[in-house]
């Protein structure tokens, strides 16, 4: 069962990306790219010849390998959303959080390895926000282990973390290439060809994993997990289409809100368990 889910994510992660992009475009009144556009992009990039960095150090290749590998490792840690008895599964939340951190660290080092100041600018933001969303990430996942009371709070917290992790509006905007504001795209500005394809695919895998985690947490409230997954995937383009990008220095407040929601969820659990 686990293998099926992993293979499904490996196959359909780009589709999720395409669906979100397409839906977002439709919601904002544009025709938008087809659902399968990410597959076309990936195959186009993979046909190009690989290029090493300008200084000939292998750091860029090593980093993309680590990022891809950590994304795959995350898939092994995901809960089984589509099988019965999900709640009974012990979820290794600490390992999940740390493997996400590994992928991020690899991307940050790769971005700094190019020597580009725009990439470094994005890195500064990424490491700052990564540091403050780690706590809500873990706590929200932890609250998912218990009864349904806290699932909605934890799910909302984790959804905010998802927006951070997947570079979505209001945190970041995947569709712009405006150097001064972007985070995720900014770090990969200097990459092209198969290496860039690997970065994109690793990010798509992480996005699918995050969506599954949020669905898993929301499913704790008693809703069926597949429905939750569809709802989460649909919620992302809605937020992107109807929400303006926040000012950079407002973002810590959003992270604090996520932390607060996660603490509240844990608080309900603790009080419930102590009774």
């Amino acid at each position: 069962m686990s293998v099926v889910q992993i293979l499904a994510i490996l196959a359909f992660a780009p589709l999720l990306q395409g669906a979100i992009a397409s839906l977002r475009a439709r919601l904002s009144g544009r025709p938008g790219p087809p659902f399968l556009q990410p597959y076309r992009d990936l195959t186009k990039l993979l046909r190009k010849a690989p290029r090493a960095g300008r200084f000939g150090s292998p750091t860029g290749f090593l980093a993309v390998g680590i990022a891809l590998g950590s994304s795959v490792a995350i898939l092994f840690l995901l809960p089984q959303v589509f099988s019965a008895g999900v709640r009974a599964n012990a979820l290794d939340v600490v390992a999940l959080v740390l493997f996400f951190a590994l992928g991020r660290a690899a991307m940050v080092v790769a971005a700094l390895d190019t020597g580009s100041s725009f990439s470094a600018m994005a890195v500064g933001r990424e490491i700052a926000f990564a540091a403050i969303v780690e706590a809500p990430f873990l706590l929200a996942l932890l609250a998912a282990r218990s009864t349904q009371a806290s699932a909605l709070l934890a799910g909302s917290a984790l959804f905010i973390v998802l927006l951070f992790e997947t570079a979505r509006v209001p945190i970041d905007n995947q569709e712009t290439h405006y150097e001064l504001t972007m985070i995720h795209e900014g770090m990969l500005l200097e990459y092209a060809g198969p290496v860039f394809a690997a970065w994109q695919y690793a990010a798509q895998l992480r996005q699918a994993a995050m969506a599954i985690l949020v669905a898993f947490v929301f499913a704790g409230s008693g809703l069926p997990a597949p429905l939750c997954l569809i709802a989460v995937a649909a919620a992302i383009p809605f937020v992107e289409a109807f929400q303006a990008k926040m000012r950079l220095f407002e973002l810590p407040h959003l992270a604090s809100a996520a932390t607060l929601l996660a603490i509240a969820a844990m608080g309900i659990d603790i009080i419930g368990a102590a009774r």
Binding site: P50, F76, D113, A120, E190
Partner: protein, 623 residues
């Protein structure tokens, strides 16, 4: 020169072997009695179970440093380091108050002297003074506490003290614990006694910093564990809560300041405070859990603490020695704002091993600290889900602080490697030879191999540590099978990114270099416009402005002619309130001491009077 170098390194290596041997084959207690007041002034030495893992840590740190020291031009520092290690060995083997205090004080004094090695620099002198001050104040507090313990037990031997501890009443027990916590906590760099550490550890030569940060502060952890689980056991929950909160504060403080620090060795020192915070928080959790009747949780926390201590020794020795290589090859440039591209430039051979160390310090897979951080966090998760409201609150608090501190530490090390090692190398200097695979690279490779081996095969050490921890907690054969199975699973999960990284490297090894310039809006940027470490952490300084108080200083140097200024200089500063408070205390104590100097009149008559008064007091009070 070469002879001295070899001799010093073999001395250090011999000490390492001695420590390992002591850990492997515990010898019968050795007792030497001093002629006067024999009851208290005995020198007892023995190997206790608790000391054994720490003996291994000492051996590990000493052997790596010994290999690094073999490199040309590092002769002089070897012998003091060997003495320092011998004193640390004494601390671990000491089994009586007098032996312990003697070894501890030797260790402190030698380390103060080592910190002051480069005393021609003013910053080094100040750092050594701050360290000496804290160290001696700590020693004072600890001596008083030990004296109270010994007098209560009627003997200086640790076994007697431990037996008599149960009959201590509340007030002296609290006083003793406070004294010992101050004494050991100051050495461990526990908040708020940590202000000296980020100045003193980097002030020493790198190989000494490796032993200071990699081994000595862990002896403080040993002493804290000894106090709370052996000497004054059982201590109850409150001291555990105090240690836990102090540890969490250390994790947050260390992480935050490491993230915004731009000086290489100081960044590593702040990271030591962070790691020490994690370990002390785990120790606190073990004490609290043990006092509240959760022996399994207490054992888990202790195992996590011991494993993290081992990992910290390995990774911090590696990183400080790496910093030492940077210092030597780049002629004392350790400012991250001025270092770049070392992996492709001056430190081609050392860089991969430093990368392993950075990943470990950030607790990223597949390193050893990843597994131990995972264990520590699992301890706090178990506390949170324990069903006991107060334990759960502590657990939740712990998770919040450890994750935030850990996230910030990760930012610090990503910054360290990304800025100093990745990227465009600086142009090669004329007098520079490319780095070869010499003794210092070999030491780093050994350290990195240990880090990775412990990360991929953690069970090899976890099982012995479990046996020890359950013995210390006093629980009957605790099984942590499911936790250990989880830890073992981490190892093969962590192998996935490792293998895919190797695969990606293999795929790209023949790839042609890219020739297009970096995108800079169409213009070519000069090298000095490359992003600096200070700029990289600007968002962090903004987010944590409430603690860091960042300030920007702008100096405009006017031109002699024309409209534009000749130069505009920017500088960024942050404040450290604990350090400022400490400076206030130091200034006050210096004023006080200046007043007290009156008694040191230099007249012989006065001293005869002092001696007479002292003898009279001793006679009156000693009855």
């Amino acid at each position: 020169m070469r002879g001295i170098r070899l001799f010093a390194s073999s001395l250090l290596a011999a000490l390492s072997v001695a420590a390992l041997a002591a850990a492997a084959f515990p010898f019968a207690p050795v007792v030497a009695r001093a002629p006067i007041v024999a009851r208290y002034l005995t020198l007892d030495f023995a190997v206790t179970p608790l000391a054994r893992p720490f003996l291994v840590f000492l051996a590990l740190g000493a052997i790596v440093v010994a290999i690094w020291n073999l490199q040309r031009g590092r002769a002089a520092s070897g012998i003091p380091l060997a003495c320092f290690s011998a004193a640390m060995l004494g601390v671990l083997l000491a089994q009586s108050v007098f032996a312990f205090l003697l070894s501890w004080e030797l260790m402190s004094l030698i380390s103060i002297a080592i910190v002051a090695t480069e005393s021609e620099r003013k910053s080094v002198r100040r750092a050594a003074f701050a360290y000496a001050l804290v160290s001696q104040l700590g020693a004072l507090a600890m001596t008083i506490a030990f004296a109270m313990l010994a007098v209560h037990a009627g003997s200086g031997a640790f076994t007697a003290i431990s037996k008599a501890a149960a009959s201590l009443s509340v007030a002296p027990r609290a006083g003793i614990l406070a004294g010992l916590f101050i004494g050991f906590g100051s050495k461990a760099g526990l908040v708020p006694l940590q202000f000296w550490l980020p100045r003193a550890h980097p002030a020493a030569p790198a190989n000494a910093s490796a032993l200071l940060s990699g081994v000595m502060i862990e002896l403080a952890l040993y002493a804290l564990t000894l106090t709370t689980f052996v000497l004054v056991a059982p201590v109850g929950a409150t001291p555990g809560v105090i240690l836990l909160l102090a540890g969490l504060a250390g994790a947050l403080f260390g992480g935050l300041y490491a993230a915004v620090e731009s000086e290489l060795k100081r960044l590593l020192a702040f990271s030591s405070i962070e790691h020490m915070g994690v370990m002390v928080a785990a120790l606190g959790l073990a004490i609290v859990a043990s006092a509240m009747g959760y022996p399994v949780l207490a054992t888990l926390a202790l195992v996590a603490m011991l494993f993290h201590a081992l990992n910290h020794t390995a990774l911090k020795t590696l990183l400080f020695l790496g910093a030492g290589t940077v210092v030597e090859r780049l002629h004392h440039v350790t400012d991250l704002d001025r270092l770049r591209g070392l992996a492709a430039g001056a430190l081609k051979r050392s860089a991969p091993w430093v990368l392993v160390g950075c990943m470990a310090a950030a607790a990223l897979p597949p390193s050893n600290a990843f597994v131990s951080e995972w264990l520590v966090l699992h301890g706090f998760i178990d506390a949170t889900l324990s069903g006991n409201a107060s334990l759960a609150t502590l657990g939740l608090l712990g998770l919040l602080a450890l994750l935030l501190g850990g996230g910030l530490a990760a930012a610090a090390f990503v910054k360290l490697f990304g800025i100093a090692f990745a990227g465009a190398p600086a142009p090669v200097r004329e007098d520079e030879r490319p780095e070869t695979f010499d003794a210092s690279v070999m030491a780093l490779a050994l350290g990195a191999a240990i880090v990775l081996a412990l990360g991929l095969f953690p069970l090899v050490v976890l099982h012995p540590l479990l046996a020890l921890a359950s013995q210390i907690v006093g629980a009957r054969a605790v099984a942590l099978d499911s936790t250990f199975a989880g830890a073992a699973r981490l190892a093969w999960l962590a192998a996935i990114p490792l293998l895919s990284a190797l695969g990606a490297w293999w795929y790209g090894r023949r790839a042609a270099r890219r020739d297009a310039p970096v995108w800079a809006c169409g213009s070519a940027l000069p090298a000095r416009a490359s992003y600096s470490a200070t700029a990289l952490t600007k968002p962090l300084r903004g987010i944590f402005a409430f603690a860091l108080f960042p300030e920007r200083h702008r100096t405009v140097v006017p031109a002699t002619s024309g409209d534009f200024p000749a130069r505009i200089e920017y500088a960024v500063s942050t404040r450290d309130l604990t350090s400022e408070a400490a400076r206030g205390v130091a200034a006050f104590s210096q004023r006080l001491v200046r007043r007290l100097r009156v008694v040191q009149s230099g007249r012989m008559r006065a001293y005869i009077a002092y001696a007479a008064i002292a003898i009279a007091l001793a006679l009156v009070l000693g009855r």
